[in-house]
Amino acid sequence: MTGALLTLLQLALTLAAAPLVTGIVRWVKARLNGRRGPGPLQPYRDLLKLLRKETVVAENASWLFRAVPYLVFALTWLAAAIVPSFATGLALGGSADLIALVAILGSARFLLALAGMDVGTAFGGLGSSREMMIASLAEPAMLTVTFTMALLVRSTSLPHIAEFLLSHDVGIRVSLGLALISLMMVALAENGRIPVDNPATHLELTMVHEAMVLEYSGRHLALIEAAQMLKLVTYLSLIACLFAPWGLDVGAVPGHALALGLESWLGKLLVGALALALFETGMAKMRVFRVAEFLGGSLLLGLLAAVFLYVSQGL
């Protein structure tokens, strides 16, 4: 019962916090660029505005085009409910593990790519094909990270991993460090952040995500943007849960531990958002064909992590 309550609380909080995290990233980036920039609350206003606006659908759009925004939003929200962000006792913790998380986010992306091609415009197809290229490279890297964690903890279940890391004295593990860098590179690619895609443009030939959703408007666009924000929070929570699980409520003392878990989660999200903004300000977007090498590097780090785990455990 508490599991269900915790899951509902997490669903609500993630949805409430997602636009704020995106807003903070944009605001800090604007500040670092020397602009005043809209305040951190701007994404809430944007979403509300989009929800009120008229939704225009192309004449030759099929049912898929209309259904996809709802499906993508639902899948991403479901993914957000799997990652233990402030407490490990989630209702879905037992049934959905890291591999399921990858699969759910992968299905959301698949649907979005289909919708991008549905109307038949050049930009949509171009965005979809690039998105699929990035996905085909990011997912193996993500899975090697998963396998590294599974080798270390002997489980792919997220609550188990977090509890194991909290209860055992793991030390500074090189494998964990490599897996962390690998996962961060994957997260940048999956969320369309700067070295891979520029989230702040609709006007470049190199855009990926924005090209795919160019035909969407009104409430459809609001849902897709909200899903994107949720995805960012999910990845930040995932990184925090796997590599910095401190403060997570493991169900020891009711009440007090939950408050601590919530506070540390918000703190981690803030730190993650600031780090992302700093990193994006310092980096230039890379050419689309360099993305393969970037993600190849991430896959390589993931493999090295797994290999070194074997070496240190002496086979």
Binding site: G171, G177, E293, L303
Partner: protein, 224 residues
């Protein structure tokens, strides 16, 4: 097996892996200055690894190795190489004999090879020695790979020196290695460096470029 709550072990392992990762970064770089800078970082981490081993093994002579790595390899060599590149106006982008992706895959295979080679030989020694040796051998092999996969003479020299970083890493990782070895290795590099400097100068004088290809064509080895 999971309870390595041992700071000496963890830190040494972390620094060793840092050296290895930077070897991969060398293979990943596309610009000459990037390669030289990455080499400097690698030497910096090597110095840190040597200093840490000196502290952990209670072996003060290793501090000298660390100092050599810090001053000579992380300071002077990259500086001189940058001067050479600017003075000779060498082409700044890197031509590879193999694609970057393929080189990285080959590098990964070499790491696997090094581990397969080292693990059976060192079953009796502790985990620290085993891993240090595996990582050092991987670094050596990656340096060799860098030398054969680059066309430009400067990046081949950097490959050679990163190979030598791997040797030093192996030397400091093993307990009780006398200083003689390190000094001799360091000096051999210095000599090699001077030789390479002269070598550059001659190639440049004769062929007006540092592309090894020109030499091959001159000798009539193969036509491209």
């Amino acid at each position: 097996m999971l309870h390595f709550a041992n700071t000496a072990y963890d830190t040494a392992h972390l620094l060793d892996t840092g050296v290895l990762i930077l070897s991969f970064a060398l293979l990943f770089q596309r610009r000459l200055f990037g390669v030289i800078r990455t080499y400097a970082y690698q030497a910096l981490i090597l110095a840190a690894a040597a200093a840490w081993q000196a502290h952990a093994q209670q072996a003060p002579h290793l501090y000298i190795t660390a100092a050599i790595a810090l001053v000579f390899k992380a300071g002077i060599v990259p500086f001189v190489l940058q001067r050479i590149v600017t003075a000779f106006n060498i082409h700044r982008s890197i031509e590879t004999a193999l694609g970057i992706g393929a080189t990285l895959v080959a590098g990964m295979a070499l790491v696997a090879l090094a581990i397969l080679l080292v693990l059976p030989v060192t079953t009796s020694s502790g985990a620290l020695t085993r891993e240090s040796l595996a990582i050092a051998l991987s670094t050596v092999l990656l340096g060799l790979l860098m030398m054969i996969s680059r066309r430009n003479a400067v990046s081949q020299v950097v490959g050679f020196m990163s190979l030598e970083n791997g040797l030093i890493l192996a030397a400091v990782g093993v307990k009780g290695m006398p200083l003689v070895v390190e000094i001799s290795v360091a000096f051999s590099v210095m000599v090699a460096f001077i030789i390479f400097g002269i070598f550059f100068f001659h190639i440049r004088e004769r062929f007006d470029t540092l592309d090894i290809h020109q030499v091959e064509r001159y000798r009539g080895e193969r036509e491209r």
